[in-house]
């Protein structure tokens, strides 16, 4: 009975298309490119946050765009999000998660700013509490 279990554990656990032998070179290159792009995007973010060379009101937008780009780099190069058929479920799960993030963050910001705008100023509310 234990040899049966040994057989279970030794059986290669690969997906169709993954059975070929692993070559280090391309994979190492993938991680290195990911690292390089991330360093570039991070350095750019830090630079833009501190510089006077850019129109100031655009800085938050630029930082968000750079952040999204870097998250994309991480997803592709480190987390191996691909368009392969075995990856489709993962992409769908991620897409749904992102939808929820935008709804929750965007919706909360929108609602709270409206509520804030419609609220009486504090210096008129405080006297009512006396």
């Amino acid at each position: 009975m234990s040899e049966q279990i040994e057989r279970l554990h030794d059986r290669p656990d690969v997906a169709p298309g993954e059975e070929t032998e692993v070559r280090i070179g391309p994979r190492l290159l993938g991680y290195a490119i990911g690292l390089g792009l991330s360093v570039l995007l991070t350095a750019t973010s830090f630079f833009i946050a501190g510089t006077d060379l850019v129109w100031q009101p655009s800085i938050p937008v630029a930082l968000v765009v750079l952040a999204i780009a870097q998250m994309g780099v991480h997803l592709v190069f480190f987390l191996h999000i691909t368009t392969g058929p075995d990856n489709t479920n993962n992409v769908m799960a991620l897409a749904f998660g992102l939808l929820i993030v935008f709804l929750v963050v965007g919706g909360s910001l929108w609602i709270m700013s409206h509520l804030n705008h419609n609220m009486m100023p504090m210096d008129q509310i405080m006297p009512m509490n006396r």
């Binding site: 234990s2 279990i5 279970l8 939808l99 709804l103 909360s108 929108w110 609602i111 409206h114 509520l115």
Partner: protein, 389 residues
Amino acid sequence: MAWGHPEVYILVLPAFGIFSEVVSTFSSKVLFGYRSMVLATMAICIISFMVWLHHFFTMGAGPDVNAIFGIASMIIAVPTGVKIYNWLFTMFGGRVRFAVPMLWSIGFMVTFIIGGLTGVLLAVPPADFLLHNSLFLVAHFHNVIIGAVLFGAFAGYTYWFPKAFGFSLDEATGKAAFWFTLIGFYVTFMPLYVPGLLGMTRRMQHYDVAAWRPWMIAAGIGTVLLTIGVALQVLQLFVSIRRRSELRDTTGDPWDGRSLEWATSSPPPVFNFAVLPNVTGEDACWRVKEHARQHELDNREPDYDDIEMPRNSPTGFVCAFFATVMGFALIWHIWWMVALGGVGAFATFVAFAWRDHDEYVIAAADVARIDRANVAARRAALDLAGVVQ
């Protein structure tokens, strides 16, 4: 609140799933509009994350915000309506059997529609300004939750009890429990809409308004009926256990079911299916039964093979116990207990990860022995019923 609304859909969508199974089985018809059911469910999943502000229309966000969330709350009724129509069309033209699970399903359809309609009324922000946190709201959400979630739970409980425990539930007490619960629900909650419209708020410890009194008394009478319904539901279990030898499910298919669980014995063997079935469409069991005469004539045994089963482990419970201890200690700032709980949970987790044997094998001979016994029992029961010559 952004979670609070999706939560009620987490409650209701499994109940909808139960109804799809029950309605098609007891209408003796395949479920109408399978694809539209799937699309409707997905639409509800997405839209349910876009409605949460309807819980606080009165908080002062302004007309544009209120309008968007109000419209979304109304739109979500559309895919829900699609599902109701699909269940109705499943029944239409079918041979409907009024067994207890089907009674709960029909009760659900009527009750949930009324509750859903009052929900759409509440989704109109100006109406909600008057009805927010009133008894109208209380009546609405009890209407939908009891109608869908509770009735669905009872439908599923009655439907799958024989599969899980090997004997059916007593039919007479089941029907009595259903009628008392259904009528009790209506007598309790329908009157509550009126005080809501007359201005009664929720969570009141006492009230002084005479106009509300007749409705509240009617609701009180309804609670007596509901209590009897609950008692009958509990009684049903005791009666069924006492009569279990008469109620025994010998074939594994007490309802003439359409889906694959009814092709196993009741309760099923530990490996579920001796040979993995090859499924080519919906209502796979129905397909098998239609070709049953052909299968009888073939009378060939399948090729039995070894089956790998996961080994049971108490780790889940133990880890959860330590995590609960840790959570409790975090609330009350009992730091030594936090450490104890954390270490315990982590140690349990590592112990589980460290095991070398997470599966065991059931030999083909044992699979064959169990399966032959189940098939023989089913054949004997069908012979007795004169089904198979």
